[in-house]
């Protein structure tokens, strides 16, 4: 095999939400966390980031490097320039996290990671401030922007719960269910952090690492996901694989795998939300592996197993 292999694409997560939804708070926690991952966070403006000066290892106009291996980059004039710069200097990063502007349509930002071969979209999370969301959707200048942020997300996080006596969490949850019923809706920031931190790992982490180091360091105690794993030598046809991955009723939130196809080629599979990516693998594999995860309560291992076996059967 050639010595110079192309590095695997850099996983990308998108954090969206209107002004004041708590994006920066989330980002600050990720940057300061002792999770051992080298995360590059792209923010609109350094000004909002509250970094502990003692953690800063170096800084220039656009990039701050932290002692824990994380970095923070300021978007400045143009998101594309910033991404190009990061990909250009890409020294051992595990994850790129993009904090969008308050009015961005996150699915458009996600498109960048889908289109760029050196990037891979892992998750779009939209933060919803329960105190202000209903006023926002009632504002004709803002309602469509907020709806796009909810619809463009793979998962949602409710923030500022219980900060007011007149807590609107229940009403907001109902409203969001109307807009995006099938999407995971978190009320606990820790769970979203855990999901984001896993972006570079085997998606089955959520069950395996439930009590593992990473989750514990963040104080995450329950993760609402379940996973299904498969390993085998049976080849699958591309058509059947695509159909399987696009079956919404299986409630697969994320999928990842390396599979042998019936035509003798091998592919890498990624799914998040409704976005499915199947790309050709440039090396040979002997065994196929596939992992699917979904929300506990909605996701059924046996249902997925049955669907997959049928898929393999039909491929023959």
């Amino acid at each position: 095999m050639a010595g110079l292999q192309k590095p695997p694409p850099l996983p990308v997560s998108v954090i969206s939400g209107y002004l004041g939804a708590g994006k920066t708070t989330l980002v600050n926690r990720l940057l300061a966390g002792g999770h051992g991952q080298r995360i590059m966070v792209l923010v609109n403006d350094f000004g909002e980031i509250a970094l502990d000066e003692s953690l800063i290892e170096s800084r220039d106009d656009d990039i701050i490097a932290l002692a824990n291996g994380c970095m923070c980059c300021q978007i400045g004039g143009d998101l594309y320039d910033a991404i190009d710069k990061i990909l250009g200097r890409r020294t051992s990063l595990d994850h790129l996290l993009i904090e969008t502007s308050g009015v961005a349509d996150p699915s458009k930002i996600g498109q960048i990671a889908i289109a760029e071969p050196d990037l891979q979209l892992r998750a779009i999370v939209t933060l919803v401030d329960v105190q202000n969301f209903l006023d926002g959707v009632a504002d004709p200048l803002l309602s469509d922007t907020l709806e796009r942020q909810v619809r463009g997300a793979h998962a949602l996080l409710l923030t500022k719960i219980g900060t007011h006596e007149d807590d609107k969490t229940g009403d907001v949850a109902i409203r969001i269910a109307e807009m995006a019923a099938e999407k995971p809706l978190f009320r606990d920031e820790d769970q979203v952090l855990a999901m984001l931190l896993d972006a570079n790992d085997d998606p089955s982490f959520v069950t395996k690492n439930l009590n593992g180091n990473k989750a514990q360091k963040l104080g995450v105690h329950s993760v609402p996901f379940e996973s299904w794993n498969w390993q085998g030598e049976t080849a699958v046809s591309r058509v059947c694989l695509e159909a399987f991955l696009n079956r919404n009723e299986l409630q697969v939130f994320r999928a990842k795998g390396q599979l042998l196809l019936a035509d003798g080629s091998a592919v890498v599979v990624h799914k998040v939300g409704k976005q499915v990516e199947i790309t050709r693998l440039q090396r040979e594999i002997l065994t196929s592996r596939l992992v699917c995860i979904g929300l506990r309560g909605k996701f059924s291992r046996s249902y997925v197993e049955e669907a997959w076996q049928r898929c393999l059967g039909a491929s023959g």
Partner: protein
């Protein structure tokens, strides 16, 4: 290059249109040290002879030309000078900064043939990159990868569309970005058989190609070549002052701008507008004060630009009810309305003048709401904030502009370049008939400028004037008879009117004593030709600060 430092030169012209109500038309203008000393007849400067060295030179080189004040382009971008690094592939003829005419390409085959020829000048393996293409004008088959594979199979070929939101590329370029039939990407257009057809829609999908070929228009716009190209482009159409209406103005760029514009042969006065939205208002206001101190005659610093929405033809403009006629979802806020309001109020309070980009009528309304609150809380005379583009404002909004003392710079060139599209595919007939409502602005007494937004449309004040006066579209429609304005009003909007929006009307915009000797040297009289022929008047060059530049 003339430009005598001392002494008086009296230029004779066939006619001088001054825009000065005290002397609207003259035959002679006297120039001393780059400024206008006197205007009138042959002896207009004689009274000054003793005071300034005793000698009056007479120069009749412009005796066959018509002089107007140098045109002021109130909304353009330096990028207009950078595009020419690449091949032009648009439908309409276009002239580059060096005067070379690039004939319009009117079919997919013409684009193929034109680019194949252009590629011959490139080293092996170099990509063929073209710009300005607009499929809307072509009746032939839509440009696709197969046409461009005929340009080259070995080099990447990229044709950027004029709106910068689409590109069409060849197979080699697709391969470079890793795009094939299995790519699951909404913006990658396909042939009916599922193979990519080469058209890539929106920046996210174009980015992998651009990155790999090093296409970066904005970086190009910051080079000396681009600044010089921009100035030459302006000179060719009679412009002596132009904005560069959105810039980060980092220190490096500023040093470059100061050096390049300061060169003795630089033809243009540039007014860059600082990005006023990313940083907090206090920071912006501080920067404005610092920048103002570094202004020179040919680099006027201190203007600020805010952005409210996107573009109408790109369906990113924010429209009021009933929205886009295609049912397309409403556009996007470039700045959250709440933040826009906060920033407008804070900058207004800090004494900053703002140029606010608003295309759709919901965006202009949001800006007016913010300006109204700003005026109520911090009343200011003569703030001269300008709504830029402001293409869909209705009568009520113009009334509010008048009441609030807000100026407007309307995108009149749009009427010709996109008018039919707006009528048929964006805002629909009623609103399209009053697009860029110059007539309403004047009726309501709103200070008016009109612009090209180059490179979105080619810089050319006489073309912009032609649009405002005739309101014709390529299909032959008159897009709103009642919004047409007179030639005199159009000329005013392109000179004093635009200068007023830049707070430079005391220095430029008319030919009168004490002002800069900035002239457009025309080959015809705009007030005498048929209005339909306004855009055909030739431009021989400019005089800028008493220095002459000929095409």
């Amino acid at each position: 290059m003339a430009g005598k430092k001392s002494g008086i030169t009296v230029f004779k012209a066939k006619k001088i249109i001054t825009m000065d109500p005290n002397c609207p038309v003259a035959s002679h203008v006297a120039v001393h040290e780059g400024k206008i000393l006197a205007v009138g007849g042959k002896h207009c400067a004689d009274a000054w002879a003793d005071h300034f060295g005793g000698k009056v030179d007479h120069d009749d080189r412009f005796k066959k030309h018509v002089l107007t004040p140098g045109f002021v382009e109130g909304h353009a971008h330096m990028m207009a000078g950078a595009m020419w690094e690449y091949f032009y592939a648009g439908y309409q003829d276009r002239t580059d900064p060096d005067g070379k005419l690039w004939p319009g390409l009117d079919s997919a085959d013409a684009v193929t043939a034109g680019l194949r020829k252009a590629a011959e000048s490139l080293a092996d393996g170099k990509p063929v990159i073209a710009w300005g293409f607009d499929p809307i004008f072509l009746t032939s088959e839509r440009l696709n990868r197969k046409h461009l594979d005929r340009v080259s199979k070995d080099r990447p070929v990229v044709v950027m569309h004029s709106n910068f939101h689409l590109m069409t590329v060849n197979s080699k370029a697709l391969e470079l970005a890793g795009y094939d039939r299995n790519t699951n990407l909404e913006g990658m257009a396909r042939f009916p058989d599922g193979e990519p057809n080469g058209e890539l829609q929106e920046m996210a999908v174009m980015f992998p190609v651009m990155r790999r070929l090093g296409i970066d228009f904005r970086a190009l716009a910051r080079t000396e070549r681009a600044m010089r190209g921009f100035a030459r482009t302006a000179m060719r159409v009679g412009v002596t002052t132009s904005t560069d209406l959105f810039s980060e103005l980092p220190e490096d760029d500023l040093a470059g701008l100061l050096a390049v514009t300061g060169a003795h042969d630089f033809q243009l006065r540039i007014v860059p507008a600082l990005n006023g939205i990313t940083e907090p208002a206090a920071e912006v206001a501080k920067r404005v004060v610092e920048l103002r101190k570094r202004s020179t005659d040919r680099l006027r610093l201190g203007a600020v630009k805010l952005m409210a929405d996107g573009s109408i033809q790109g369906y990113t403009g924010r429209l009021k009810w009933p929205g886009y006629i295609t049912g397309h979802e409403n556009g996007i806020w470039n700045t959250p309305p709440a933040r826009l309001k906060e920033q407008i109020i804070a900058l207004h309070a800090a004494g900053v003048q703002m140029h606010i980009h608003v295309n759709g009528d919901e965006a202009s309304e949001a800006a007016l709401d913010a300006l109204e609150e700003a005026q109520a809380r911090h009343p200011r005379f003569d703030h001269r904030h300008v709504l830029q583009h402001c293409q869909m404002a209705d009568e009520a909004q113009f009334r509010r502009m008048a009441a609030l003392g807000v100026c407007v710079n309307l995108f009149a060139n749009h009427i010709w370049y996109f008018g039919d599209q707006h009528y048929e595919r964006t805002m629909g007939p009623d609103k399209a008939m009053r697009i860029d409502a110059c007539g309403s602005a004047l009726r309501h007494g709103v200070p008016l400028a009109i612009h090209s937004d180059a490179p979105v449309t080619p810089m050319g004040p006489l073309h912009v004037a032609w649009c405002a006066v005739n309101r014709l579209t390529p299909s032959g429609r008159v897009l709103g008879e009642d919004q047409r304005i007179s030639v005199a009003d159009a000329l005013h909007a392109l000179t004093l009117g635009a200068a007023y929006t830049l707070k430079l009307d005391g220095e430029i915009g008319s030919i009168e004593i004490g002002k800069q000797a900035d002239f457009a040297i025309l080959e015809g009289d705009p007030t005498k030709v048929k209005p339909a022929e306004l855009r055909d008047i030739g431009v021989a060059g400019t005089m800028m600060g008493g220095r002459e530049f000929l095409v």
